[in-house]
Amino acid sequence: MKNCEYQQIDPRALSVAPLSAQSHAEEKARRPRRKWEVFPGKNRFFCDGRLILARQSGVLPLTLGLIVVTCGLFFAFDCPFLVEHLTVFIPVIGGVLVVFVVTSLLRTSFTDPGILPRATADEAADIERQIDTSGSSTYRPPPRTKEILINQQVVKLKYCFTCKMFRPPRTSHCSLCDNCVECFDHHCPWVGNCVGKRNYRFFYSFIISLSFLTSFIFGCVITHITLRSQAGKSIVQAIQESPASVVELVICFFSIWSILGLSGFHTYLVASNLTTNEDIKGSWSSKRGAEDSGNPYSHNNIIINCCVTLCGPMPPSLIDRRGFVPPDEAVPAAPASEMELPPFTAKSDANMCHQSTKDVLERMLNSSDFHGLCPAGTPKTTPLVQEGPASAPAEPPAGCSRPHERGAAARLCRPLSKHSRRDSLHSINPAFRLASPSPSLSRSALILGDAPNMGFVPLR
């Protein structure tokens, strides 16, 4: 199965494609597309690629609706009474908090969490070449881990089958968004996006400000009802006069526990420079492993950890959503049937061999990034292999002629489809692979039937 996968990403085969489909290239050149239109992950883009959201936006509309409704009711029904009886600062404070909550929420939802673009075909092939030290065994699974030292501590880097690279430390693949995200914290359905390196501070400020807002509204509503009932009326009468307050009370009461709990939990995470992912998996817990296995990323100082996480420099987005897809790179996404490629290579030599290296390099220096879209080209074939028939195929990004690729991939993969299907079950959900690496490894050993000669790094 893996052999079939490697064939598909053979850079020589893929790189010939642009020359074979010159008519396609001409057609595509007339309509330059932006990279977000061909992004391979499961994301949605708005405002021509400026805003990014997970495809499953979860309950983001509910979150927004709850906040807007509760605050609207608060300002409409409680504030007039409280301004009259207490102070005018109440709606002012409420207003400031609402602004913070809503802007933080929108920033969390619409910011790229730190998605890593998928490896180009050349990179993926290079990685496989590097690990293929055991020789020419035909059925070898790709290696799954690589051990490195970070601050004198051994950390295992896992290989991502979807993105075709060894994941950097603290990076995890989100199965909902089908992307590797740096410093992956968790996928939050309430904000409809992953929380990762780039939007963690927004998420944190969202939950902190929401805690303040919820507590504030809760307190104000209680004060309101108390003040009303103190003026010689019963509580029931007070409630009847202001029914909206009850609605707010109920909403705030039920949400305040979880929000406060979440804020407390994330404050702990920020102070110890951990992610939710690492905390849940117990990666740096002292219970497992050697006695000196602490968190290698922590600065061992609460204040420094907080400052680094919340006030550190804002890293840039790596996926270049609004860049244009170079016309010749868009073509590999088109029919990638490698069988058709050889006849066209002779033509390419005749056409292309007249310039000097220097001209070539100068032109490349002046052009926009020409290989930026290789990731979009290559994984088109692999999702079929990985997901197999078990799941509905990942919805293809717009504009790519996937049926051709699926046909090609199916033709190539049919002899090994049995292996692909079984391994696909492991590849679909990285969480399972991470949680139980050994069983899957032994299973693939059985499938491939060549356990001793595999040449990969065995997992403990």
Binding site: S15, P169, T357, V360
Partner: protein, 158 residues
Amino acid sequence: MAAEFHNLQEMQHSALLVTKVFIQRDYSEGTVCRFQNKFPSELNNRIERTLLEETVKTLNSYYVEAEKIGGQSYLEGCLACATAYIVFLCMETRYEKVLKKISNYIQEQNEKIYAPRGLLLTDPIERGMRVLEVSVFEDRGSSGSTPSSSMSSCSSAR
């Protein structure tokens, strides 16, 4: 550098060697952006070791500057937090400024040092900061018009 032109037949027979060498990230100091300063063996006879090492070292120092945690970054962070992060919409962050410097540096290095030797550095930001890609061209004067077609002509010539 004198551009050497060979005729087409000779070039077709000569099996143009075009490959890409990837310099991987060095995670020994955590998740900060750093590239390994290990000289790849494929470039042994293409470029002097010191030149490449100097380039990588300078790039690493640029990244350190971009990700430096100090007074200015705290100020930026606190200002952003205080304005509910709206300031990021108007202001270019320090990281972005340093990235521009890096891309100018890489372009300058390509023009002065790497292109004359038939090599080309690709800005790591275009590869998601995973690798520093060095494209190696057979410096025989004639080549394809894009790296992908060069590689195709290489593979076909084989």
